[in-house]
């Protein structure tokens, strides 16, 4: 019961932000806010794989692409029809869009989760950098496939995706993935993931089904990457394979590492920082990306453990411990 109250309160706060924000700031800042939210989902979901479980994935953009194209194709082929049907049944358009958007997002997320399962399977055999390179390869294969499939627009990109996403949906998604990560970190399953990260052999010896948990991390992480992709598609209304290049995966990893591997609040802060930073640097034009790269290097040299280390914001139970310990 208390949880339901909290959930409703959270949604109400997000709704309020969604209502007030556009009246206070201009469209440009709203767009950056939405992109921040999408990047938060990406960073926190990758944190489940890289930070919690210690599996090195550098193909997150691939999962995002699967979700984005899956959700967009659903909306284009059947989703718009559903909106018309719902509209005829007397459902207000805002709610009808919301319902169909939810279906599209979940569908995109599930598709990405299937992809994550397929990529997670080789992690049974591969370790460390070999796994990394397989995820990299997967991301590139997805991108090249999309480039070659005419039905999804190929190199031209996919046009005319209905624009249904507002700040509300993105914030809800971000809150969802953060809350899920937090609960996971405190659950038996989360402890199993941490155990695999800290010492896989020891975890196995203690009876943790390492294979199952590694695949679980992949499936969960890619599900949320898919959701982020769906939000991205329905926010811009246009998709292009070049949005999901290797550089995008790198960007997300940079967020996770910069925030402090394994720290949820760190991932959130770094995602916002790394989305806003290039925008703030816009006045210096050509030197923008050079400064961005320099800051990345200097930050890593001065704070190699990331901004937050493995600590979390304002959660005393987590405070200053590397991994959450069970009560003695």
């Amino acid at each position: 019961m208390r949880r339901a109250v909290w959930g409703v309160a959270l949604l109400a706060v997000i709704g309020l932000i969604d209502f007030v924000a556009p009246r206070l700031v201009n469209a440009y800042i709203m767009q950056i806010a939405v992109l921040c939210g999408i990047n938060v989902i990406l960073a926190v979901s990758l944190n489940l794989i890289n930070g919690f479980t210690g599996q090195f994935s550098i193909g997150h953009a691939g999962f995002m692409a699967v979700g984005a194209y899956g959700a967009a194709m659903f909306s284009l082929s059947v989703g718009q029809g559903w909106v018309a049907v719902l509209g005829a049944a007397g459902v207000p358009p805002g709610i009808a869009h919301g319902i169909v958007l939810c279906v599209a997002l979940v569908l995109g997320g599930l598709l990405a989760a299937v992809a994550g399962y397929l990529v997670g399977l080789p992690s049974l055999r591969l370790r460390g950098d070999y796994l990394a390179i397989v995820t990299l390869g997967f991301g590139e294969i997805i991108r090249v496939l999309i480039l070659n499939i005419e039905a999804v627009g190929g190199a031209r990109g996919l046009f005319g995706i209905p624009v249904w996403v507002s700040l509300f949906w993105v914030l809800t998604g971000a809150a969802g993935v953060v809350l899920l990560s937090r609960h996971l970190a405190h659950s038996t399953h989360g402890r199993a993931l941490f155990a695999i990260r800290d010492d896989e052999v020891a975890a196995e010896a203690l009876g943790v089904d390492t294979t199952r948990y590694k695949v679980l991390a992949f499936v969960l992480g890619s599900f949320f990457a898919g959701i982020a992709g769906g939000l991205f598609a329905h926010f811009l209304g246009y998709l292009n394979p070049s949005s999901f290049q290797f550089l995008k995966s790198i960007e997300v990893i940079a967020m996770v590492v910069l925030g402090g591997t394994g720290s949820i609040s760190g991932a959130v802060i770094a995602a916002i920082l790394l989305t806003v930073l290039p925008e703030v640097l816009r006045p210096v034009k050509d030197y923008r990306m050079v400064l961005y790269a320099l800051m990345l290097i200097v930050l890593m040299i001065t704070r190699p453990q990331g901004l937050m280390g493995s600590r979390e914001l304002s959660w005393p139970r987590f405070g200053r411990r590397r991994t959450p310990k069970v009560a003695q």
Partner: protein
């Protein structure tokens, strides 16, 4: 049949360039366990150093082999210096931190070189001068090999032989092998680990520079982002052969080059960039440590 042989020649040429770049990846990985993402951009630097030095020496107006060699040596020296600076300024401070921190630093260096290159060299592509005029040499049966392809093969084979000699038959090479086994033990034996790491970066960067010059001979369009894809593919080649393994990198590079050319020739040119990764995944599923890599048993 003759078409297949022709494709094979093209594939081996392409593959030997991948092998040159892959060697740099695999050496740095063997010694530092670091995926040096900036390596592909050092290859780009090599092509640009060669471009400017060719203009400086006037190699385009009066092409002769001595000038071409001079261009190659200048580019290699320039990149060797660049590799040394990169290691000293960016990688050494994070060497003791986590491997992920080092990886992000490498990504930062890569972005810095690409975007810095865009400012220094300009964003629009440049055309590499013909420092060696193209000549086709018929091999009979409709198969031809160009003098540029011959040069690519000869230079890469020569450099690989030189590398093999350095690694296996010199004191520094012995020290490199020792450091790749254990930094601590090597340091206890009186090896200066810092110097060996610097040396490895210089050596790897010089090989990448040679790769850049050789590719620029064949495809003269050079631009600051030209290193991204060959860099990733060379890294894949290194993993394919078993990362950290020097002969493995050469084998991986050749396999990649041949597979790529065959796919372009017989399947579809647009699938060119995907096939490398499909091949990689298939090989890693069968041999998780790469073609020549040893499967090290985990010690508890």
């Amino acid at each position: 049949m003759s078409e297949f042989l022709q494709q094979l020649i093209n594939g081996v040429t392409q593959g030997s360039v991948y092998a040159l770049i892959a060697l740099g990846y695999t050496m740095v990985y063997g010694i530092l366990r670091l995926i040096n993402f900036a390596h592909g951009d050092v290859y780009m630097l090599g092509a640009f150093f060669a471009y400017y030095s060719a203009r400086w020496y006037g190699a385009a107006q009066d092409p002769n082999p001595m000038k071409a060699l001079l261009v190659l040596v200048t580019a290699m020296a320039g990149c060797g210096l660049a590799g040394w600076i990169i290691e000293r300024a960016a990688y050494r401070p994070v060497r003791k931190s986590s491997r992920l921190a080092a990886l992000i630093t490498a990504i930062g260096v890569s972005l810095l070189l690409e975007n810095g290159g865009q400012i220094v060299f300009g964003a629009d592509p440049k055309f590499f001068p013909q420092i060696i005029p193209l000549k086709n040499i018929p091999l009979g049966g409709g198969v031809t090999i160009s003098n540029q392809q011959l040069i690519i093969l000869a230079v890469s084979l020569g450099l690989m032989g030189l590398l093999r000699f350095i690694v296996l038959h010199t004191r520094t090479g012995k020290a490199m092998r020792a450091v790749s086994h254990s930094h601590t033990a090597a340091a206890l034996m009186g090896i200066s680990v810092d110097r060996i790491v610097s040396f490895t970066f210089v050596l790897g960067s010089m090989l990448a520079a040679a790769g850049g010059v050789l590719v620029a001979l064949k495809d003269p369009k050079i631009e600051p982002y030209m290193g991204v894809l060959p860099g990733i593919k060379a890294f894949v080649a290194a993993v394919l052969g078993g990362i950290g393994n020097v002969p493995g990198a050469v084998l991986g590079g050749l396999v990649m080059g041949i597979a790529e050319v065959l796919v372009v020739g017989y399947v579809s040119p647009t699938l060119r960039d995907a096939i490398a990764f499909v091949l990689l995944i298939v090989i890693l599923l069968v041999r998780p440590a790469g073609l020549l890599g040893k499967n090290v048993a985990e010690k508890v």
